[in-house]
């Protein structure tokens, strides 16, 4: 037989099993840190105002209204009282709502005598549900009906103001003595008939029974649905196609991050005083990534997201407090498989306490302080959890998600523009591959569970290739994502023309000259091309390499003032005859040597303008090659700890249950 009913929350919890504790900690993750050692410890923590408020914020609309009903009822109310006050016909739903509150440690006691914990009662304020406490001498229904009739229509506007709460209004001399005969104003009429009562000399209150009568005996105007609104639009897409589209986005975001971080020093961004990125620099990112210009605001939001993620993941760091460079962590990041990189990026996205879309609001900046928001992590988790409930392939859409989430977190919906934020989140989810064409992908489920990407999806992430297709129109086509090192080399030898799943690169005299400037020679270029080409080296390309090599370095420039040496008489004549020869102080020193008064860079400028291809030499006669790539110092990445995982919770719950025996 069951023992006597528990007399407190603490006593209730002492009868709990491990599973009960697990459910509690799952629903109130703030209780996990630091881990409570004993049940007494746990009860103390639960009973703080902060933790209780947190728990109430995490209630869904139905749970919330049940809790509000309990708050509006005297302590020790029955389930039937709750159902009556709610006007709920679904008894099962009420029972479930109460059970949910019990599981959260917000309600305890038998169904015939329910107790809402004191802090929760406090949280609902002095007039829970907009109702005052029960009157000491309540009017009967009949009395109220008669009073309303006698008072007439003139008092209705006044009553309407108070009926849905708060039930009080400020009035001077509220406690004046009035009779129906002496009443002059609607206020006096209402007071005279007892439809309002003085609370103190300056306040009137609408008695609970009057308010309920006028409300039709309902606690709330519209009773929320007892179950979550349906997320799906009833429309489905083929899950395998949607998954592929999602992976497509995932690959794209990885590629864009790689491109952004690799080129960030070329962009020469200047951080603003608030640490953010100016609009001009953000537009430079849009241009760099050649984001389609159909929806400029969308492209900007995406570019800002990339910058934010690269920063949050520690792939870039600031140097001299004003510019950004890749970190060494970026180089390691590139070595990791795509699936792993994606998982890491999504984790960063979820756990960063910033609402990224706010960084592109007017006057805000990417990386700037405007987007800081602790609640972001929780909101992202919440949205993920809701989305992961539906089958991949289900078409959801931002609007439906926004509506559904407002039911799941009514407290949040009352504070924030949840519709707009859900839409922003949905866009970001698309960029990361969690949704595609408004349908939930398998990656959403992965992200929600913080699980490993299942093989069937992981296989869709392409393996990097190291072979190119060389064509006689002087292009190199990568029919897939290139291994990083191969990609870097081909970008040195040729200019990239097209980005995407693959790449198109074009060789030109200028691109090859750049490679020669960086210390390559014709043999090395040809050997590298032969090694990485699946189709051989086309004759015109081979010819071009030879031709550029032949011309490259035929002229060498050094700094003495500066000098030019060439065996080419025609060039000497051309230089000396040039109108700029005078200003630069060019003169022939020997048959093959010209010296200049000007600095080497000015002279090189002239030579370039003449279409010549000089090579620079240092004082020891060595060819000067391009410098190595600079790197910023690593930036330790600190993300606030996310909610504890199911395993940690189970362990803790076992411990608590164990502490009882």
């Amino acid at each position: 037989m069951s023992p006597a009913a528990p007399r407190s929350l603490a006593e209730t919890l002492r009868r709990w099993k491990a599973g009960d504790f697990a459910a509690l900690l799952q629903a109130r993750p703030d209780l996990c840190t630091p881990p409570p050692r004993t049940v007494a410890d746990l009860v103390t923590r639960m009973s703080t105002g902060g933790s209780t408020l947190h728990a109430l914020h995490r209630l869904n609309a139905w749970q919330h209204v049940v809790a509000e009903a309990l708050a509006a009822l005297p302590d020790g109310a029955t389930r039937k009282d709750v159902a009556t006050l709610l006007g709920a016909t679904d008894e099962l739903a009420v029972r479930r709502g109460i059970a949910d509150l019990r599981a959260r440690g917000l309600v305890w006691g038998a169904e015939g005598s329910l107790h809402l914990v004191a802090q929760a009662r406090t949280a609902f304020g002095p007039w829970p549900g907009g109702l005052p406490e029960e009157s000491a001498h309540p009017l009967t229904e009949r009395q109220i009906g008669a009073a309303l009739q006698a008072a007439g229509e003139t008092v209705r506007p006044l009553l309407d103001q108070l009926v849905w709460g708060p039930p009080t209004g400020r009035v001077r001399n509220a406690d004046r003595q009035v009779t129906p005969e002496s009443a002059n104003t609607p206020m006096e009429v209402a007071l005279a008939y007892g439809l309002l009562r003085p609370l103190d000399p300056d306040t009137v209150v609408m008695p609970r029974e009057v308010a309920l009568h006028l409300r039709g005996h309902r606690l709330v105007r519209t009773l929320p649905a007892p179950t979550a609104p349906d997320l799906g639009t009833g429309h489905r897409r083929r899950a395998d196609l949607i998954d592929r589209a999602g992976v497509g986005a995932a690959i794209t975001v990885l590629r864009d991050i790689e491109q952004l971080v690799s080129s960030i020093d070329d962009l020469d961004v200047r951080l603003l005083r608030d640490g953010g990125l100016g609009a001009k620099d953000l537009n430079a990112v849009v241009t760099l990534l050649r984001l389609p210009g159909v929806h400029p605001e969308r492209s900007q939001a995406y570019a800002a997201l990339l910058v934010e993620l690269a920063w949050a993941a520690g792939l870039v760091n600031q140097v001299n407090a004003e510019t950004l460079l890749p970190t060494a962590a970026f180089d390691q990041w590139l070595e990791r498989p795509a699936v792993e990189r994606w998982s890491g990026l999504v984790r960063t996205w979820i756990a960063t306490p910033r609402w990224f879309a706010w960084s592109v609001r007017p006057k805000a900046h990417a990386l700037g302080p405007d987007a800081d928001w602790r609640g972001a992590v929780d909101l992202r988790h919440g949205l993920l959890a809701v989305c992961a409930e539906v089958e991949p392939g289900t078409v959801v859409g931002a609007e439906a998600l926004g509506r559904a989430y407002a039911w799941h977190r009514p407290a949040l919906a009352s504070q924030l523009d949840l519709a707009e934020m859900t839409a922003q989140w949905w866009e970001e989810a698309a960029a990361l591959g969690l949704q595609a064409l408004d349908a939930v992908t398998g990656l959403m489920v992965v992200a929600a569970a913080d699980a490993e990407v299942p093989a069937v999806l992981a296989e869709e992430f392409p393996e990097p290739i190291d072979e190119l297709i060389l064509q006689s129109d002087l292009t190199a086509v990568a029919p897939g994502p290139l291994a990083h090192e191969v990609g870097r080399t081909i970008r040195l030898l040729a200019a990239q023309e097209s980005r995407g799943a693959g790449g198109v690169f074009r060789f030109s005299a200028a691109s090859l000259r750049r490679a020669f400037d960086a210390g390559w020679n014709a043999d090395r270029v040809l050997a590298w091309l032969a090694e990485h080409s699946s189709t051989g080296v086309p004759q015109p390309l081979e010819y071009l390499v030879g031709d550029v090599a032949r011309r490259h370095g035929r002229i060498r420039v050094g700094t003495v003032g500066s000098w030019i040496q060439t065996d080419d008489d025609a060039v000497v004549s051309q230089l000396l005859a040039h109108p700029e020869a005078g200003p630069l102080g060019l003169r022939r020193l020997a048959p093959s040597v010209i010296v200049a008064d000007a600095e080497a860079d000015e002279v090189v400028g002239l030579l370039h303008r003449l279409g010549l291809s000089p090579a620079a030499e240092d004082s020891a006669g060595r060819l000067v090659t391009a410098p190595t790539r600079p790197r910023a110092r690593p930036r330790p990445v600190e993300l606030p700890p996310g909610p504890p995982g199911p395993e940690a919770i189970a362990e803790l719950a076992e411990e608590l249950a164990g502490s009882l025996s």
Binding site: R244, G248, A249, D473, V477, P540, A570
Partner: protein
């Protein structure tokens, strides 16, 4: 779900890379052709591009976004990012939200079932003066004179309108096809049907696939007086000959409206040149458009249509318009005007026909690099910028290489082509070959062409300005000595037409180029567009000419 990785790589810049050696390449090509434009076709990877116009053309032809998305997902080797798919769907969805229709009371109206779009458009500055009274949330009056301009503006606003307002019948004139010794091919019939069903629009057929025949058959279908606009006089004569041969039209019924003659007949063929001629700031030949109640206007080589003709076409929107071309790509970027003023693409030849037409390696191209003598280099170095190209292109050193090449192919029909007349004069003299240049009178030209065609002479020097490519077939060797052959694919196709060797021989195209000069820079552009059109390309030094195989 997937077996073999697909042949298509989808790029984020909206290009599609098709691997031509892939077993599914042909199938994939057929599937993407309705909505993607072929941009480059070098040996291994062909590049197609997705553009709003291409997608709208596909919509106009009855394809929907789901189909396009499905094709991309099916043939793509890698997962396609959803943002691109969304973009495709959104773009396609914009076509036809607005329609131009005939209203029983208000005449021409712009209609939309989406009041927001209509409002956006009505409020746009660019449509000022084109629209009249707003009838209701979904209908607004269009001034009939602005039908064409409105379509141009709507396209620019990103809301291309579907024109369902119909056409005037025009003056009746019976035209019959006379298929006695020939028959309309299936695809030609399909082209005519698609055009007629769509009302107005463009038929894309490669050179030699019978564009003129499609034109003639469309005229027969219309059974009305027809205005045909062509690029030049030679082309006008070809049209006339074809019409006489393929239809019931007699010489009296066909007029030529050109620099030389101004005949207006039931079927009138006019050149773009004469129409765009300006005198005292006005176009005196505009009368042509209103000279008769034309039932059909045919635009040949619509990708070359000059701007003034566009402007006139904007006023002809009530008449049926047929555009004929081998390519929708225009060098001036006016593809949108073709779409809004002539109409969407109504028919596209299947790839196999293009292939037979010679998109794939129709000729072997060899660039011969000549090293200039020191004195020539010095002269080049010292020359003014605007003289440099000419000096390089006409360098005397080139002559030896040219003579050597001609000698190598002696007995094979050979053309020597150049830009500078004095260089050509000199070459013609050295080679002992006749020369056709701008100043050569037409009878003399035709006489020489005929002699070349009949094999009576096998070597001809021609100047580029003589516009030889129209009707000079069957050369097996062409040697370009100066001047860029052209800039883009249209020129490459002319080259393909010019070089038509008999039997299984391969035609040769030589370009003789001065090393390390601007001549070589031009050559690089040529190399690019020829390789992009599928020609094989090699570069040799002039010293190595003797190592070339004879044909």
């Amino acid at each position: 779900m997937r077996g073999e990785p697909g042949p298509l790589v989808v790029q984020s810049d909206r290009t599609l890379l098709l691997e031509v050696d892939h077993p599914l390449a042909d199938e994939c090509r057929l599937a993407i052709a309705p909505f993607a434009e072929l941009e480059r076709a070098p040996e291994h990877i062909h590049t197609y591009r997705l553009t709003p116009l291409g997608l709208w053309n596909a919509r106009a032809a009855g394809h929907d976004a789901e189909q396009v998305v499905d094709v991309l997902l099916t043939y793509s080797r890698y997962p396609v990012p959803s943002s691109l798919l969304v973009d495709v769907a959104e773009t396609m969805d914009r076509y036809g939200r607005l329609r131009i229709e005939k209203h029983p009371v208000h005449g021409l109206v712009l209609v939309s079932s989406d009041p927001a779009v209509l409002t956006e458009v009505v409020l746009a500055k660019q449509v000022a003066g084109m629209l009249g009274q707003v009838i209701d949330a979904e209908t607004v009056v269009v001034h009939p004179s602005e039908r064409g301009h409105l379509k141009q503006v709507l396209l620019k606003l990103g809301w291309p309108a579907e024109d369902l307002a119909g056409y005037v019948n025009g003056e009746r004139h019976a035209i019959e096809l006379e298929q006695d010794d020939w028959t309309l091919r299936t695809y030609q019939q399909q082209a005519v049907d698609s055009f007629w069903q769509g009302g107005s629009g463009v038929v894309v057929l490669p050179c030699g696939a019978g564009k003129t025949i499609v034109g003639a058959a469309s005229m027969a279908r219309a059974g009305a007086t027809t205005l045909i606009l062509v690029t030049n006089t030679v082309s006008a004569r070809q049209w006339r000959d074809e019409l006489l041969r393929r239809t019931s039209l007699t010489p009296d019924e066909i007029g030529e409206y050109s620099g030389a003659r101004k005949e207006i007949r039931p079927v009138t063929i006019a050149t773009y040149q004469v129409i765009t001629t300006k005198r005292n700031g006005v176009h005196p030949h505009l009368e042509l458009f209103s000279a008769r109640d034309w039932g059909l206007v045919v635009y040949d080589e619509v990708h070359l249509l000059p701007a003034p003709v566009f402007r006139m076409t904007a006023d002809l929107q009530a008449r049926r318009r047929l555009g004929l071309t081998a390519t929708l790509v225009r060098e001036d970027g006016h593809e949108g005007d073709v779409f809004s003023l002539i109409g969407p693409k109504r028919f596209d030849a299947p790839w196999k026909d293009l292939e037979n037409q010679g998109w794939i390696a129709p000729a072997e191209c060899i660039e011969v690099r000549v090293t200039l003598r020191d004195d020539e280099r010095l002269a080049y170095a010292m020359a003014d910028a605007d003289m440099k190209y000419r000096l390089a292109a006409t360098a005397e050193t080139k002559q030896r290489a040219i003579l050597e090449l001609v000698e190598r192919h002696r007995g094979t029909p050979t053309l020597v082509i150049g830009q500078y007349v004095d260089q050509l004069d000199e070459l013609a003299e050295q080679l002992g070959a006749p020369l056709i240049k701008g100043s050569t009178p037409t009878p003399r030209r035709e006489e020489l062409y005929a002699a070349f065609r009949s094999g009576e002479i096998d070597l001809l020097v021609v100047s580029k300005v003589a516009n030889f490519s129209i009707d000079l077939p069957t050369a097996e060797v062409a040697i370009q000595v100066s001047g860029a052959f052209g800039s883009r694919q249209e020129e490459a196709q002319r080259l393909g037409r010019l070089l038509r060797p008999s039997g299984d021989k391969t035609a040769r195209f030589y370009a003789v180029v001065s090393r390390d000069t601007s001549d070589a820079d031009f050559a690089q552009h040529r190399q690019r567009f020829l390789a992009e059109q599928g020609y094989s390309y090699r570069i040799i030094d002039s010293e190595d000419i003797d190592q070339l195989d004879r044909q």
